[in-house]
Symmetry: C2
Subunit: 266 residues, 2 copies
């Protein structure tokens, strides 16, 4: 990362100097080369510009404006790492859980046991940050074999504000359905991990069956929500870190998008 | 705004000092009051914290995580103003238009004249920033009478990256439908304003008819898109600054959310 940073700064400076070289035959030449006055300022300006660009990229991710992307932009590697490890990510997940909690409390439930809140699992209830910390926070192309090894460890910690919301939602009388892109083969390990992280008493845990493999997440999750609606359930809330958790058919009355600038699932 | 900033800083400092007073009876008292060492740092930290919180609020807006809101948070007034007037807003609208343009070029059109791109008008094609600059960039509660006076002037400038996208989309052979929450009574003035700002040759301009007044924007816009689909059109792209431009029924294959932290239309 440090090397990359240096390389980018160096490129920018090369550009600035080469521009001067290109124009140096112009007359009259300025007697004072103002830009050399304060190289520190140039570094600062470059850092500011990079931050602006990467923040803009993150907004585009969260507003679902980007086409499927495989890795984070290389120049934003430090930015994403700082975002995730710093307070910003924590503040963002706290806010989304708080907003969802306010909504959950405002809903009048029918009392017939058909009011549902759907939760995704990875990066929604469970955090895979220990894995992504070892894989560049989204800078490396996703490796399903390596990731499955991590899943098998069942060591993913809870996303604490989501656990709080989860308990509030259960306490309010919602049925809680977990809808995950994980495979049916990973049911036992997933149940174990969820329990260890503090999640209990859900009503359904839906994983990809054999016939669901190869389906886009948007399709698979829409189909599963369609089934819920056919069975008479009302999907009042839905929490997920991917737009493919939230969009499609049989969408919830209110959807809550948790931040995730590390990876994209179509 | 400057007053508000001062007031907030003052409150924070009062809090810090009152905390010390509350604890001053504790023994042993520290001999060195470390936090007084550098008041400038406290100001800086407070500014950083406010920026983090307001950025998080803006993300929640753009990811559609908030309930209907009437004004921006008072403590984020300077933040929103700086965002809009600085480079960040420009970078964001450039990015969303660029992404939309890439998608538009990637789509193979059928050639039967039924492929449609839908554009919203206010804060999507036309910018009302001259109006909002006079009204606190979203800090004041929306005043429809005052806003209509501004609309009647027909002086809203083009959002330049949107004009570029508009021309690309038309050039690619899309039918272009403009779908706005403005009233049918404002048709003439809207056509004039759009033309003056450089927008020409759209295929339909749909405004709220008498029966549409009082409908939520999400409902009104969904109904209009349903009609398009019934007429055999395929809505391949949709650009809007509000989620109510993009969600509901008959949604587009790809939707593009322009940034707008100033107001919310349900």
């Amino acid at each position: 990362m440090a090397f990359l940073r240096f390389f980018l700064l160096f490129s920018l400076l090369s550009l600035a100097f080469s521009y001067e070289t290109l124009n140096s035959h112009h007359l009259p030449r300025p007697l004072i080369l103002e830009y050399q006055e304060n190289i520190e300022n140039q570094f600062k300006e470059f850092d500011e510009e990079l931050k602006l660009q990467c923040t803009s990229w993150r907004f585009a991710v969260e507003a679902n404006n980007l086409s499927p992307w495989k890795t984070i932009p290389q120049e934003c590697a430090d930015y994403v790492k700082d975002y995730i490890k710093g307070r910003a990510y924590t503040i963002d997940i706290q806010r989304v859980s708080k907003e969802a909690g306010v909504y959950a409390k405002s809903v009048e439930l029918s009392g017939d046991g058909k009011d549902v809140w759907v939760f995704d699992v990875d990066e929604t209830l469970l955090s895979n940050l220990p894995y992504y910390a070892e894989h560049g926070y989204g800078l490396e192309v996703f490796d399903p074999v390596e990731f499955d090894k991590w899943v098998e460890k069942a060591m993913a910690p809870a996303i604490e504000p989501s656990l709080k919301l989860y308990e509030e939602v259960l306490g309010s009388g919602f049925k809680v359905f977990l809808l995950t892109g994980r495979s049916e083969r990973q049911r036992e390990i997933t149940v174990g991990n969820l329990n260890n992280a503090g999640f209990q008493n859900w009503d359904k845990l839906i994983l990809r069956a054999a016939e669901d493999h190869g389906k886009l997440a948007t399709i698979y999750k829409s189909e599963k929500r369609n089934e819920m609606v056919k069975e008479g359930y009302r999907i009042l809330g839905n929490s997920g870190d991917q737009w493919s958790d939230l969009l499609g058919s049989s969408t919830a009355n209110r959807s809550f998008k948790l931040p995730n600038p590390m990876y994209y699932i179509p």
